[in-house]
């Protein structure tokens, strides 16, 4: 096993969802999908966002597009229009999730082009 950051094997987008945000995490290839499905649990996401996500984390699988969808409850510092934060809408939570490091098999090489050349 070796460590790899998610941005090398997946891409993401996030936005506001009620009092929190949602983050969609999409793997670039089938092996990447197996890895994120196994490694990126709701618990790990909750602890990755410690201090930002105060509520629970819900996790959904969207296998047809090799994606996981996370709902980060109470993650906007007061929710949407009431928040004083720069990122009052969770627009940057996707980029933050891509910084997570996970275990991947030694022989795994992500699809070409995932990283900036």
């Amino acid at each position: 096993m070796k460590k790899m950051r998610l941005y090398r094997m997946a891409h993401a987008r996030s936005g506001d969802k009620g009092d929190g945000s949602n983050v969609g995490l999409i793997a670039y290839d089938d092996r990447g999908w197996e890895i994120i499905r196994r490694e990126v649990t709701a618990e790990k996401v909750k602890s990755h966002f410690a201090g930002i996500v105060l509520g629970q984390v819900d996790r959904y699988e969207v296998g047809n597009i090799r994606a996981l969808n996370f709902i980060l409850h109470d993650s906007l510092g007061g929710g949407g229009s009431a928040s004083l934060r720069t990122d009052a809408q969770g627009k940057t939570h996707g980029m933050a999730l891509l910084l997570m490091e996970v275990d991947v098999p030694d022989d795994y090489t992500p699809a070409a082009g995932a990283e900036r050349g």
Binding site: N22, Y28, H48, G51, I65, N69
Partner: protein, 454 residues
Amino acid sequence: MIRIANGQGFWGDSVDAPVRLVREGPLDYLTLDYLAEVTMSIMQKLKRRDPEGRSGYATDFVDLTRRILPDILEKNIRVVANAGGVNPGACVKAVAAVAREGGARGLKVGMVLGDDILDRLDAILSEGVTLANMDDGRPLSEVRDRVLAANVYMSAFPIAAALDLGASIVVTGRGTDPGLVVGPLLHEFKWQKDDWNRLASATVAGHIVECGAQCTGGNFSRWWEVNGWDHLGYPVVEAVPDGNFVVTKHEGTGGLVTVDTVSEQLVYEMGDPSSYITPDVVADFTSIQLQQAGNDRVAVSGVKGRPATDSCKVSISYLDGYSAVGQLTVSGPDALDKAKVAAEALWGRLKRAGLSYDQTHTEFVGAGACHGRIGRSGPASAAPLEIVMRVGVKDKDQKKVDRFGKEIAPLVTSGPPGITGFAGGRPRAAEVIAFWPALIPKDLVRADVRVEEV
């Protein structure tokens, strides 16, 4: 095959994008989404303050109509916009005047009413509908006296009805965002209320394009692959009667339409992917099949839908106190340490003046304001050259919030060295508008469709 483009993702999106859409390639329909949740309450306030009742809608749409009128007349492009806000009647009047000036006599303009239930709110509550908060179950009575706006997310069928009556321009108030695309497809293909799979597919099409350029390269994770940022193409849906469609953009425009850019927009603002609920259908996003079908073309098929629920979502907004946010730029050396001293000085001075607030917030932009310690766990970066100290308060008392705004500028001369950037003046207390999502039985919602010649 029908081509539908969306040229506006929110009120404040590019003013040129819709003009380019009608000029730079073939099109049957142009849709424009002006309404975010917060927009409705802003419009409600504008309407209340205007004694002549001419305010409360997206005025950008009137200017846009003037610009695109010759093109839509010549090319027979129909326009569907939720520009009506909380005053669709005034919006239609202004649009009709512009059309008349432009020599479009005989053009039919349609309007969908029925979403605005602010005046009916107490009657609805007295019928035993609690309009309880969908997130936490609290009854609306808790905030009833502070409610600013209440609008139902309407079905797309009334939009189709207006098009059936010959409207070339349809103005609505609050409806679902995807409904702007679903309406024209219902009109063109004569789908029935129980064509669940087709309705779901049309809903997915609307969802993909509702944020404008977010499916054509905007906000895309691999931003370095996107070319032509200065003339980014906005999305065009090519739909066929069986419900399948292709997402593309006009030839020669910038941007990128790939399975990856479309996938990112599919998951945007997603909840439970198996149940994307609209008034017309429950769409299953786990059934969607995406396939690259050429350069900047993504084919979407296989979408499954289930019967609609018996309620509509209502977006209610209410006044929730006041807030103010201000900032200063602190330059190096030791920019972050100095910014922290400045922030401590500010809060200490307010405390000595006897002030406390329901909520305070301090951020150091440039040192993890967005990602906290997650950002620091990433690739190592050098000490920042500047830090933006960003501070804010929220409170029920407007005067206390205004007082906070006076405490920022003094730091330039009475704080650590190298502080600048106080250019915008003292921040003033602004109303905080909060949202109250609720459900209303469909039998209490009635759409009113009107079409008239200009």
